[in-house]
């Protein structure tokens, strides 16, 4: 039987296991929306297309599945760009479906026409314009395959209106043939042997986990290796949760706002195993000083990540979990060659001395400290929550003071640092885990970038909690102005802020305000116990800074401390 493009699209989504779409309609995609009600897939109407992409992204990060969103042509498509770039920077599997003007009009500057394939070429893993309905099923199959395989990423498929209307025989391609795309999953055995050799020789080894550990579900392997071989662990922001934050071997995140112990450890280690991390400049500090005394073993599925920023001694291209499992296998046969615990004992004593010397801390003074808000939330929830963040100080305090124990419990825009990410991502995560507590740790600036999604959350009865660490500033920028620009607080003071409580109520959500440290715990508890979407406006100390801080261009161990 012949089906039209819209129907074929929905048949394909079903076969890909897609049960939820985040989207926003428009002229170019009405045919798809016309077809939607006849299918089981849920469609969640957001209030801005950027939020549809972040929601699909949050869904993907929380669940490990491919997130999918659907928008119209022109402005609908351009509104997705920030979301796509966010997902691309953090390698999130996603398929973005955009409407396009009918094929005969393409190139004519038609109404609501943009070259979205051209616009998103540098921020997608791959993208397609489907010009013939007969290509549709194959392209969609490839899009999903590309999004989730290898180093995952967003794939965009542009769907002209006439292609959605045209009919053809629907044939589901059973497999994907792409001769030009063959990610390497299985690491080279020799390289793994060399890695184990290096670990045996090392006196001051260190694991350094990135988002790749989370993405490839390699936490268990990492944990086994760290504990069995007595090797301490640090991570990037994206790697938080990959290793339990309450484990004695855990040193905290490294980088610009990393822990003292973590940053010291990197620059004093003699062997670093970097797993699924790409050595972003926020992580390495001044490159020439980064890990200068260490042999670096770098495991990554993407060959371009290796030796892009940092010279590597033992490159291992492959899936992080497979690589760590391989190292485990080899190490198991060679355990007896070294008394690991004893050999690393002085090193472990050193790192724990750093930890006690300069723990993450802040000065309590009776006002509400943002760090204290994060700690209180951790203790109320016992860490059993999915936490998303916005961007800025709120993000860094969450990373520092919430103890993440499991992968996929922190969803944050690491690579792009997108303000406005956290709330829509929380919506996606809540759909993935309807029974989990989902909290967006927000800033008063960031939350206003996608505040309109309160309507989406309320409409879908999502019990998401938005905790605004309200300092009345674009705090992170203000911090830089304070420290490096002689307190020239140009355009960072948020004057004329809305009344967040009333705003929440206007949308039909609950609003809470906390102005006294004494109310912090009880009000948070009440808000978290509520079955409704809630906004909690916490008035925190306005000019609190995030420490430690490695100034841009400084070496990792040149930290400004509290």
């Amino acid at each position: 039987m012949e089906l039209n493009g819209a129907r074929i699209l929905l048949e394909c989504l079903k076969r890909e296991g897609v049960d939820i779409l985040f989207g926003y309609p428009g002229g170019a995609v009405i045919d798809i929306y016309d077809e939607l009600p006849r299918h089981e897939v849920r469609h969640i109407l957001v209030r801005h297309e950027q939020a549809a992409v972040h929601a699909a992204d949050g869904f993907a990060r929380a669940s490990g599945k491919v997130g999918v969103c659907l928008v119209t042509s022109g402005p609908g498509a351009t509104n997705t760009v920030t979301g796509i770039a966010t997902a691309y920077a953090d390698s999130i599997p996603m398929v973005v479906l955009t409407g396009q003007v009918p094929t005969p009009l393409i190139g004519n500057d038609a109404f609501q026409e943009v070259d979205i394939v051209g616009i998103t070429r540098p921020c997608t893993k791959h993208n397609y314009l489907v010009k013939d309905v007969r290509d549709l099923a194959r392209v969609l199959r490839q899009a999903f395959y590309l999004a989730r395989s290898g180093r995952p990423g967003p794939v965009l498929v542009d769907l002209p209106k006439d292609v959605m209307q045209a009919k053809t025989e629907f044939v589901w391609p059973e497999d994907v043939k792409l001769r030009s795309y063959n990610p390497t999953y299985r690491p080279n055995l020799n390289q793994l042997r060399r890695a184990v050799e290096a670990l045996i020789e090392a006196k001051r080894p260190l694991f350094f986990a990135g988002g790749g550990v989370v993405m490839s579900d390699a936490s268990e392997e990492l944990g086994w290796l760290a504990r069995t071989l007595s090797i301490p662990v640090t991570s990037t922001l994206m790697g938080l949760g990959a290793f339990p934050g309450d484990d004695p071997l855990w040193l905290g995140m490294i980088g610009m706002h990393g822990t003292y112990a973590g940053n010291k450890a990197v620059n004093n280690a003699d062997c670093i195993v970097a797993v699924g991390a790409r050595f972003d400049d926020r992580v390495t500090g001044r490159l020439s000083a980064f890990a200068s005394g260490a042999r670096i073993i770098h495991i990554d599925i993407d060959p371009t990540s290796i030796r892009k920023n940092v010279q590597v001694d033992i490159p291992v291209v492959g899936d992080c979990r497979k690589a760590l499992a391989g190292i485990r296998e080899i190490a198991t046969t060679r355990l007896a060659e070294k008394d690991w615990a004893t050999a690393h004992e002085p090193w472990l004593a050193q790192v724990s001395a750093w930890r006690t010397e300069q723990p993450l801390t802040y000065v309590k003074n009776g006002s509400i400290k943002p760090q204290q808000v994060v700690e209180t939330i951790f203790s109320i929830t016992r860490g059993d929550a999915i936490v998303t963040t916005e961007v800025g100080q709120n993000q860094m305090w969450t990373a520092q003071f919430f103890t993440f124990r499991k992968p996929r419990t922190l969803l944050t825009s690491g690579g792009l640092g997108t303000m406005g990410y956290g709330f829509p991502a929380a919506i996606g995560a809540q759909f993935a885990f309807p029974d989990k507590l989902v909290i967006d740790m927000a800033g008063d600036g960031s939350i206003q970038m996608n505040i309109q999604e309160l309507a989406t959350a309320v409409c879908n009865k999502l019990p998401i909690k938005i905790v605004i660490l309200n300092n009345g500033y674009l705090g992170m920028v203000r911090q830089w102005q304070e420290l490096f620009y002689q307190r020239n607080y140009c355009s960072t003071c948020m004057e004329a802020q809305p009344d967040f409580v009333k705003l929440a109520e206007a949308y039909g959500a609950e609003g809470y305000r906390i102005t006294e440290a004494g109310e912090l715990e009880s009000t948070l508890r009440a808000a978290f116990a509520s079955p409704h979407t809630a906004v909690i406006d916490v008035r925190v100390e306005r000019e609190e800074n995030v420490y430690p801080m490695v100034p841009a261009g400084a070496a990792l161990d040149e930290m400004l401390l509290v």
């Binding site: 394939v117 070429r121 893993k125 590309l146 001769r179 030009s180 795309y181 060959p303 371009t304 030796r307």
Partner: protein, 163 residues
């Protein structure tokens, strides 16, 4: 260091802009770029000359391989190869200088492809160095116009041992 890269790609719409965009977006430089279909339907060959330090070239090659539409990348620095480019150059050649221009054309085995009272248009083929040499010799006569292809290259059938 100058590198000639041979890049086999799926001949799909947009493939050229994917490759060009990669170079511009990442700040890699392109000296020349040549694209044409191969004997295999749907497959095109791009020959790209670029330059940079080893680490940059390594990134370029890896980034090219990462593009979903790129089938194969060969860096001709690693293999023995024949390299050619072609140039057409219109040189001022009035009666007084015509003989001299023709002599140079002869030495470099150029073909005369167009003539007028005041100029000669020569066609020259050779590797990058030869083309540079021809152009620098002709400069003093006054070059009015040039049209030049990028480099194309092919692996030699007989490779030196250990290559």
């Amino acid at each position: 260091m100058r590198h000639v890269l041979s890049v086999l790609v799926e001949n799909e719409p947009g493939v050229l802009s994917r490759v060009a965009g990669l170079f511009s977006g990442r700040g890699f430089n392109i000296e020349s770029l040549n694209v044409a279909p191969t004997l295999e339907e749907g497959v095109s060959l791009m020959t790209i000359t670029t330059s940079g330090e080893e680490q940059i070239i390594e990134q370029i090659v890896k980034q090219l391989r990462k593009l979903v539409t790129v089938i194969k990348v060969v860096d001709f620095i690693d293999v023995s190869a024949v390299e050619r480019e072609m140039v057409m150059v219109k040189v001022q050649a009035d009666d007084a200088r015509r003989a001299e221009v023709l002599r140079i054309a002869d030495i470099f085995r150029c073909k005369v492809v167009d003539v007028s009272l005041n100029d000669l248009t020569l066609e020259a083929t050779g590797d990058h160095g030869k083309i540079q040499a021809i152009l620098s010799l002709l400069t003093r006569f006054g070059i009015k116009e040039i049209a030049r292809t990028g480099t194309v290259a092919m692996r030699r059938s007989m490779q030196p041992e250990n290559a």
